[in-house]
């Protein structure tokens, strides 16, 4: 992967294992990774640090992924326009639709293999092939 180092990804998931799994994949591809355990933490992070993409789970305590997305899109620019990739275990079309209507740019169903994750993230960040 070329110059992923400049790109910063925020991983929002309450499961330690999942965050570690994504972080591991992304860091090996030279992305910089931030973590948040739920929507509240994610919003706090996004308001003080800049990220190029948010990867977000749906089912989380405190603030779930969809509530987070709706709140994200209501922020002032440029925070409001951060691309969001939802990765959830829900595989039904209505789940993807709900995420989209909350403002998700894309929806993937877990499990996402590490190389697939890196492929999606690279493209969504506009890295050269």
């Amino acid at each position: 992967m070329a110059d992923a180092a400049a790109k910063r990804i925020l991983v929002v998931d309450d499961a330690n294992l999942v965050r570690r799994f994504y972080r591991d994949a992304l860091e090996r591809a030279n992305f910089e990774v931030g973590e948040a355990l739920n929507g509240v933490e994610a919003l706090e992070k996004l308001l003080v640090e800049s990220f190029d993409l948010v990867i977000v789970d749906v089912n989380m305590p405190q603030m779930d992924g969809l509530t987070f997305l709706r709140a994200l899109r209501l922020q002032a620019a440029p925070v409001s326009s951060i691309p969001a990739l939802v990765i959830s275990t829900e595989a039904a079309p209505q789940d993807a639709r709900a995420a989209r209507s909350a403002g998700a740019n894309f929806y993937l169903v877990k499990p996402v293999p590490q190389d697939t994750l890196v492929a999606y993230v690279s493209i969504m960040c506009g890295l050269p092939a």
Binding site: T89, A96, G103
Partner: protein
């Protein structure tokens, strides 16, 4: 498998436990949304974890359970005992899979069939699944995907996002879609198109209209080149490990102590340099004494810290009981609720690990014998659902654990009859017993027999085994009971357990223990090699003459075996070596040593006693006294 297996095992187990807790609480309070959400999240997170270790079958089983819970969440289904049973069963299976994965590092081969079975049962319960709605492509389930098809999917998704009727945050959505679309183009080497799109984005934002952008995306969708899919990378499996989770504070304390020890070590190096330079001996002595004091304190602290690593909250074992009590209560037809108090109380790991069986036995007994039938309870005006309390508390150097039921109490008249009938105590002994002593008879060996084996309490072991187990841990068991009010069984256990390693030996037909620390080696010598020296005997081992004592004779039980080779234990007593002749050598074992009590207290040569697994007392020898007495 992959490198995440270890964490999968640890977190998986925690989630199974959490799910269990939430499901049981949910059964009790079906309207508790928080517990419902907790249970749902446990299944959900487990499913995610299964995906990470590529355990597809487990994901499938959990998904089925999650669907059922999801139906409850959306008020399309109700919490029923069957539903709870099925979900608990699913967690049991998941727990078993995790165990197998830890043992083998592989996905269990039977998992596919087991998962299918669970899914079948869940779908039978839930009825037929809902059909997917037509007209929507649905979410993307990642497979081995070609890059260009990813790009295409992403662009399609941005178009759909732009087409969403958004009341709020429209600008944010529009702009994020534009950013993603431009990035897809950039990725495919079409930077100019990307810049164009971004320009279009700005004007769309100003106009508040996404149609032009959608059209632009449509145009570029045609031009994306196809690429062959990349092969998926294989990952290697790490070996499974047995781990102990330790409080971070305790590890920090160890790290801090290590730092201080390093400083103390350096100070000694400094003193050594002083000694070398022939410094004033008194100054040197003072320095060394101070360093010794410091080291003494640090080593003491280190010892306490290391012991504290072995301390675990009783929660580790208590958490298993709500589930078991529920099952026992169901199978006995006696509704009962288990209340746990003080689960955060800590105890030595040895105790936490050994306490499960005795507690289970006491709980079983409480449910089976202690509690009345629902009809009886109704007649007595007691609540239909019985309450059993499992409590733990720390008291000084002891940990108290008790099990209290609100049942009928111990029927002392019946205890007396049974004791007589089974020859546990004589008529006259029974007549002289206080109520407390009578109640205590339930722990006597032979009191409970196979004749009263029921589905639960039986299994051929009685309360005597409970007492033996607790006493082996250095603890005590007591029972108190009030007629029609209930029974309480209390364990008093030591907070720390000091284990001593002993080697068992046999002499004069009895088994003794010798502290392992004193044993140098064991040898077999010809009997003729042990020669009389005056009143004593001696042998030569590698040019050293050692006194040899026949253990049987030293204990006043006559001479030991006289035929064949002699087994001699070479022991070191205060730096002096000696030989201890025994009939047979046994196994080394870890025991909890108790100082000799009662009649044994006055007998020389006994260091302490411990209970063996079969209930026999093992006498551990005081070699000092044995060799001293033999000399005289």
């Amino acid at each position: 498998m992959n490198e995440f297996l270890e964490q999968f095992v640890i977190e998986g187990r925690e989630l199974v436990t959490q799910g269990n807790d939430d499901l049981l609480a949910l059964e009790e309070h079906p309207d508790d949304r928080e517990r419902l959400a907790g249970a749902f999240r446990a299944f959900h997170t487990l499913k995610g974890a299964a995906g990470i270790v590529d355990f597809v079958a487990m994901g499938r089983a959990l998904h089925a359970a999650e669907d059922v819970l999801s139906a409850v969440r959306s008020n399309n289904a109700q919490v029923t005992p069957l539903l709870i049973d099925m979900c608990l069963g699913c967690l049991d299976q998941v727990g078993a899979w995790i165990d197998q994965m830890q043992a083998t590092g592989e996905i269990p081969p039977a998992a596919e069939d087991e998962a299918d079975d669970l899914v079948r049962r869940f779908s039978a319960m839930a009825g037929a699944g809902k059909p997917l709605l037509p007209g929507d492509p649905g979410p993307v389930v990642p497979a081995a995907v070609a890059l260009s098809s990813i790009g295409r999917d992403l662009l399609e998704a941005q178009k759909m996002l732009l087409a969403e009727p958004a009341a709020e945050g429209a600008a944010g959505r529009l702009e994020s879609a534009g950013r993603v679309a431009a990035n897809v183009l950039r990725h495919h080497g079409r930077s100019l198109d990307a810049t164009d799109l971004e320009g279009l984005l700005q004007s769309s934002l100003l106009a508040g209209d996404a149609a032009a952008m959608s059209a632009a995306i449509d145009k570029v969708l045609e031009g994306l080149a196809e690429r062959p899919p990349e092969p998926a990378a294989a990952t290697a499996a790490p070996p499974a490990e047995v781990t102990l989770r330790v409080d971070v504070d305790r590890v920090d304390a160890l790290i801090r102590l290590t730092g201080e020890l390093l400083i103390a070590k350096n100070a000694i190096g400094h003193s050594a340099a002083l000694a070398e330079a022939a410094a004033d001996p008194r100054a040197l002595a003072v320095a060394l004494k101070n360093q010794h004091l410091l080291l003494d304190r640090l080593v003491g602290e280190l010892q306490r810290s290391v012991f504290s690593l072995r301390v675990l909250p009783l929660h580790h074992v208590f958490q298993r009981f709500p589930r078991l009590v529920r099952e026992m209560a169901n199978s006995l037809g006696k509704p009962a609720r288990l209340m746990i108090e003080g689960a955060t109380t800590e105890a030595d790991k040895t105790i936490v690990e050994a306490i499960f069986e005795p507690l289970l036995h006491v709980l079983r007994n409480a449910l089976d014998h202690g509690l009345e039938s629902p009809d009886e309870r109704a007649q007595l005006g007691k609540p239909a659902t019985a309450t059993v309390r499992l409590r733990a508390a720390r008291q000084g150097e002891h940990v108290l654990i008790d099990v209290e039921d609100d049942g009928r109490g111990i029927d002392l008249a019946r205890v007396r009859d049974v004791a007589l009938q089974r020859n546990v105590a004589s008529q006259s002994a029974l007549a002289a017993m206080s109520d407390a002593e009578l109640a205590d008879l339930i722990f006597a060996p032979g009191f409970s027999t196979a004749s009263e084996v029921t589905g639960l309490s039986g299994r051929g072991v009685g309360m005597d085994v409970v007492r033996t187990t607790i006493e082996r841990l250095g603890g005590q068991v007591a029972v108190s009971s009030r007629p029609r009010r209930g029974t309480t069984v209390q364990f008093t256990l030591p907070f720390t357990v000091m284990m001593t390693q002993v080697l068992t030996v046999e002499a004069a037909g009895q088994v003794f223990g010798v502290p392992m620390a004193a044993v140098v080696e064991t040898v077999r010598v010809e009997r003729s090699a042990i020669a009389p020296v005056g009143a004593a005997r001696a042998m030569v081992l590698r040019n050293r003459t050692l006194p040899v004592i026949d253990l049987a004779r030293a204990l006043g039980r006559g001479p030991g075996a006289s035929a064949g080779d002699a087994n001699v234990l070479i022991v070191s007593i205060a730096g002096q070596w000696g030989g201890l002749e025994v009939d047979r050598l046994g196994e080394p074992m870890d025991v909890m040593l108790k100082p000799p009590e009662g009649l044994l207290a006055g007998v020389p040569g006994i260091d302490g006693t411990t209970l063996l697994g079969d209930g026999r007392v093992l006498i551990v020898l005081d070699l000092h006294e044995i060799f001293d007495n033999a000399d005289g």
